[in-house]
Symmetry: C2
Subunit: 296 residues, 2 copies
């Protein structure tokens, strides 16, 4: 089977000053996952390594780089799906987990698929998933290089251009497909709001023999259209990865008038990505390439 | 357009002593929704009326009849989707809302689609959705007619046979399809666990011109297979409501070894329902019927 891996670092109106950092961050994360695949590792291990790299890079709104809620703390969501078993692990609203993707992966084999807040953090404690003081995220947020800002007191404006979710999809040598997503959520989000990132079928989906998808953008629209599963439906009906990505992003705009982007790998190892936003940072690797190809 | 409406009262190993109450409750809820449709009301109004009737009936594990969590309180989830707009409104983990479906419907036109716990309850306060003391649910639970129980001190055993979610789907005279679900969750559920009921695409889905679906059972499996959307995919590929229901329930058993049931109406007004559990209470109305047909 051909190996393939793709990551994204969020879609939206990315500030030009961040183009270089976002592309470099995506390339480094793709390389981290690709090294795992090329060493014979599984898609599950490769996707986890790639998302950890994105979560640890303060350029992106996930893990350490998370934006803050209206109340001024970070609430992180993440999910991962194993296309071999259709197992899902996901967390929403965690405040003390350094790498939410590691906790999501820990939940993958459990009977539960989606755990919230302190219930999810209890699993992290049981399984020695690294916890941090919630201040970790607040301090990282304050340290982040500021972009030209109209008003430092307005969190929703301060992070303008820092959009979305990160994600990764991989196909390994055994034909297994895994997809994952991780986010710090909407800047200044209202209390209790959940987007698509922790929701399989909406923010990510993987099914061996079909494909894997990870999404970013206005999460509500991705839930309403069940976007990640819908991309796999298009593949089941005969589209390749790029055609499926283009078709569903066109539907997103036409049917919800909302914005976002997505990455996809089909079971044949084809790469696809599409967006109806001004930009989306991404990087991918296939066997014909010497180094990851990054773009925005 | 033909009118149609179907409700369910949960799937599982329903205790024989509850058969009559469950069927009568479903018939009454279906009649409540049908009366709305026949008076020219919308599918949205009809589904809401039917689910309110189910939530107010202590026979079912939703609204007043909710089971309790491991910590001994009720945490309610509900969701509703409008097939005309693909708008979704959903809540998870609310503890003070008498009819979670009314709160979900209030969220339907908001930018958010899924709100948790106190964030959702804040919307209820703003919009005068009836709130109750959390004790309301605990007292209703204690008042519930007891079934033969091995040990009254064990909540998970006390409610044996009291499964699942309630749900409703309707097709109105304008061709609009609406689907909804509401649940008290798993008895004795671990903290923070979210099932499929608040998740569009998993626990319910509606799309004009295709169909509407509401699900009940082991929610994790319904998330992993994106069951409600998958039923609509089968309809898009040419199946009628019953064939689509049968096909997806067969997949549920084969691919996840888990159990549940679902109800569906396709855009032509055909009714379908299927389960791989011992029983599922339901009732439906179509224009050729004088009264709702109920079964188990």
């Amino acid at each position: 089977m051909p190996l393939a891996l793709i990551v994204h670092g969020g879609a939206g109106a990315i500030a030009p000053a961040r183009f270089t950092a976002a592309q470099a961050g995506c390339a480094a994360a793709a390389q981290a996952g690709w090294d795992v695949l090329c060493a014979g590792g599984s898609a599950l291990e490769a996707v986890t390594a790639a998302v950890v790299a994105l979560e640890d890079n303060p350029t992106f709104n996930a893990g350490t780089g998370a934006v803050l809620t209206r109340e001024g703390h970070a609430e992180l969501d993440a999910g991962i799906m194993d296309g071999a078993t259709l197992d899902v692990g996901a967390v929403a609203g965690v405040r003390r987990v350094k790498n939410p993707i590691l906790l999501a992966r820990q939940i993958l084999p459990l009977p539960q698929v989606l755990l919230l807040g302190s219930g999810a953090e209890a699993v992290a404690e049981q399984h020695s998933i690294p916890l941090v003081d919630p201040q970790h995220f607040i301090e990282a947020y304050r340290r982040a290089p500021s972009e030209p800002q109209p008003d430092d007191a307005e969190p929703s404006l301060r992070v303008e251009g820092k959009h979305g979710t990160v994600g990764a999809v991989a196909l390994d040598g055994a034909g297994h497909i895994v997809a994952a997503a991780s986010t710090g959520g909407m800047a200044n989000k209202p209390p209790g709001r959940v987007g698509d990132t922790p929701i399989a079928g909406a923010g990510y989906y993987a099914e061996d023999g079909v494909g894997g998808v990870s999404c970013t953008g206005q999460g509500e629209a991705f839930i309403r259209l069940v976007v990640a599963r819908r991309v796999c439906e298009a593949i089941e009906r005969g589209a390749d990865a790029q055609a499926a990505a283009d078709a569903v992003i066109a539907q997103l705009g036409a049917r919800t008038q909302m914005e976002g982007g997505l990455i996809v790998i089909d079971a044949a190892g084809h790469i696809g990505f599409a967006r109806n936003t001004a930009a989306m940072s991404y990087a991918f690797c296939t066997e014909s390439m010497a180094t990851p190809q990054a773009g925005i």
